[in-house]
Amino acid sequence: MFRRLLIANRGEIAVRIIRACRELGIESVAVYSDADARAPHVALADRALRIGPPPPLQSYLAVEAVLGAARESGADAVHPGYGFLAENARFAAACVEAGLVFVGPPAAVIARLGSKIAARQVAAEAGIPVVPGAIPADQRDETIALAARRVGFPVLIKPAEGGGGIGMKAVHDEATLGAATAQARREATAAFGDGTLYVERLIERPRHVELQVLVDHDGRVVHLFERECSLQRRHQKIVEESPSTALTPRLRARMGEAAVALARAPAYRNAGTVEFLLDGAGDDARFYFLEMNTRLQVEHPVTEQVTGIDIVQAQIAIAAGEPLPWSQDEITQRGHAIEVRVYAEDPAHNDLPQAGPLLLYREPTLPGVRIDSGVVEGGDIPVQYDPLIAKLVAWADTREAARRRALAALRTCPILGVKTNIPFLIALLEHPRVVAGAIDTGLVNEERRALLDRSTGDPPPEAVAVAMAASDAPQTRPAPHGAVDPWVRLRGWRG
């Protein structure tokens, strides 16, 4: 096992990994930018080294600075967490060159699966279905129409480059194809400087279901079942659960086999997640390979809660060369887990990220509720990084009990000083389709107005009375500059 492990990350995931190290008897080394000098991950590690100023490119994304910290601290392994350098093949290679074990798959595998086209090829070769699609030979309207006919309507016209849903157009029949193509081309050019389009079969009302896999250094593969991640806003997951309400035992077995086959194909190592689009539900549902994430996922706790397996500790053990301790048969799902991601953001304004002081921050302690966070009362949500505050993970023996437990946790999680999506998450967990488990990736967007109506409004008289009664902030910190209103009324605006 390792003696000292450097965590090339910040926030809740750095804290999560530090804790795994402590339980494994490994010394932990944190790195931090100037914005995080007083952050919990810095305070909790056995050692912490400054790696640069706040901008990520000069700190958490600065390969040389991170490797320098590893050298200085005498670390023998590096865990990249998620985001930042986690899927950077160059960083993985540089770690190995520097004599450090990188907790993740080999650099070549990261590079191969990081390319969407190469990953599609890996899947196709492994016999895993991919969403039917084609890059037209040329970009003339007729060629694109030909490709659409071959793929079969409805189709999705999407930019070959870029992401975030920009320029994507759903086309249900040939009559509207021309106009959609023109608009997609215009938007792609404007956003990415490249108007190249791609035609893909449109899966209507799909679910996003992913499978967690673990592969040891002898190439033994197990999967830890599925995570249902269909509740997304702006293509980012906000609620995840396991098991999925869409999976029958037979479908689960088929998807598990596909995930294992996919992990075998490129000689994968360590933890990974195979993402699928799911069309339909039950035995007859069809699933299509979407991509493989070569790292720990934000939502890994739901899998940990239902399987009882500590994925971060498993990652470290695998990286240290230990064999997987369980066979596939020994891994079972028990009960139901739901994770909600609490973000510093304003759902009423396009989910705009918020930054500011945590004037008051109290985590609920409820049986069956696990909280992964990297902040403390009196700290800040800095402006430079991802605005994730905490993950609340509720486990119970049934989905309905887990849902109620997640609601109880959200309702007793006061966070003051920055706006959060807690009221929105409460409305979402109370939505009839979420209650019924009848969800798909379009739900949050379609229901946004209704969810906002249920989660915003004037303060009730009781809240005003509390505000009046509160004589002072409970903190010794200086008072905040006031709530930031993201939409600023500008004098001199002419309509």
């Binding site: 990520p56 304004h349 006061p414 003051l416 809240a463 505000a467 509160a470 902030a473």
Partner: protein
């Protein structure tokens, strides 16, 4: 202030008990009088306790208000400008893409119009409250 009688008890450390004849609830509060934050029943309110008409945190300034301009709520970088001066834009068209905290923040047109001035440049760090684009 309340419509029906309600007692507030300071429990210390930012905790308050709100009770009326029927039931009681736990509330939390923090912050200065001009922007007091209150957590009650899973909702958060920012209340100005000095003025006569406190406003809800979620009810303030809507984006499609004609009298409002869009500005970054925080320091952000201009990732790309998608319009030029004089260009006609339709409601919902992307005007400027900002980037902050690893996220893209699209600034779209609140209504149909024509671009009068562009007040920012790609790569520029913009401050909150400063106009990015003006329409006419």
């Amino acid at each position: 202030m309340a419509d029906r009688p309600c007692d507030i008890t300071d429990l210390g450390n930012g905790r308050y008990r709100v009770s009326d004849a029927a039931r009681q609830r736990l509330a939390h509060a923090a912050g200065p009088p001009e922007a007091r934050w209150v957590f009650l029943d899973g909702r958060v309110y920012v209340i100005d306790t000095r003025g006569p008409a406190p406003a809800a945190a979620g009810a303030r300034g809507r984006a499609h208000d004609d009298e409002m301009a869009l500005a970054s709520p925080m320091p952000a970088t201009v990732a790309a400008i998608h319009v030029t001066v004089g260009q006609t834009v339709a409601q919902g068209d992307l005007l400027v893409m900002l980037e902050a905290m690893k996220m893209e923040l699209p600034i779209t047109a609140p209504r149909d119009g024509r671009v009068r001035v562009v007040r920012c440049a790609p790569g520029e760090l913009v401050q909150p409250g400063v106009a990015l684009v003006e329409l006419e």
